[in-house]
Amino acid sequence: MYKEQITDREAISMLLLFVIGSTLIIGIGGDAKNDAWIAGIAGILMALPIILVYSRISSLFPGKDLFDILTSILGKVFGKTVAVLYIWYAFHLGALVIRNFGEFINTVAMPETPMLVPMLCLGLVCIVAVRAGIEVLGRISTYLVFPLMAIIMIVQILAIPELKPNYIKPFLSQGIMPILKGGFSAFAFPFAETILFIAVFFSLKTKRSPYKVYFSGLSIAGVLILLLTIRNIMVLGDLLGRLYFPSHVAVSRINIGNFLERIEVSVAFVFIVGAFVKTGVCLFAACRGIGKVFNLTDYKPIVIQTGLLMIYFSYIVYDSIMEMRNWAFKVYPYYAFPFQVILPLVIWIAAEIKTRKKAKQC
């Protein structure tokens, strides 16, 4: 089989787009209101140790993906059970992202179109990209990451007249608890979702690469998310917690000399690209996992059916947008905790023991 390989730069761009993907549009820090940016910092700080664990797992087994690692350290039966759990997580996460996209399009752009249509469009693009391989996703991310950064920065500068710095005060008005809760929610969505990248980093070139990729990708994405959150708070103030898509509303307030206005389509563009990369990575991880669990030689033949299942699942997963928001902030952090923290810790400890034993035998 042809060995897929991506460069560090491609991996960093992919990770960056994955992290900012759906976060840009939904926002972080649910309950923390105008302290959401502190919650963001707390989320990044909480994510740092677990990112170390992910990169350590990835660099202990160069050239192997998450599912190879699972079967080689946890044994055939238990390893495959955990692999099935991760396939479910990747599949579910991909479906949630597609659903976010569908709700977004349905709310702001095309309220009368059935939601399945935009979701099908996004899903089909992801299916084509994943069928072409992870290299294609990596390359498209490198091409798109600079235009996206430029758009985000230009919009950020254009938003300066709308900023009202007094909205950010008072600091810590509700005490520390909402911030910790918001930080935990920011940790689970989006920072620790990068666990799925262990399934992608088999294709990196060197052993040190995972550290570099994880840390630079996460720090750039963290800074971007913080900047955007601060902008949203300063533009919207108290309204922030009551909107489904705060970035979209914040950018739609921009009005330069009655000429440059209605530029919120830039937010939609950034979100579409991010959602595409995020869904692509999730679909890739799910297909690769299915391929590994059933001992297939290649994952590519099953991409179409898995992708279609993902789209249908995203169509049935929520009843309404209220449920989606509630799920993303209240339920999801707890639901994802075992996949993001407990299982990786178990895998890491088992991997350390296994490699030490191997080193002794040699």
């Binding site: 299915i290 290649d298 033949p301 898995t306 299942l309 209240k330 339920v331 707890y334």
Partner: protein, 69 residues
Amino acid sequence: MIFLVLIVYAVLILYEFIPLYKQKQWPEFAANAVLGVLSLTVAILLSVEVKIPSPSKPISNVITSVFGK
């Protein structure tokens, strides 16, 4: 709607299953067939507007009962 679904899946079979069959990649063929039957079933159910239960309600019930609101 249901005819549209059937036509699309017929095209998919022509496009995907027949090459796998010709190359005799039986594990891929079997996995693909299982997933295909599953997705065809869901697609037909969606096209005749059957309400398929979502797993997010039970998950959220379990989590709110354990951790509180």
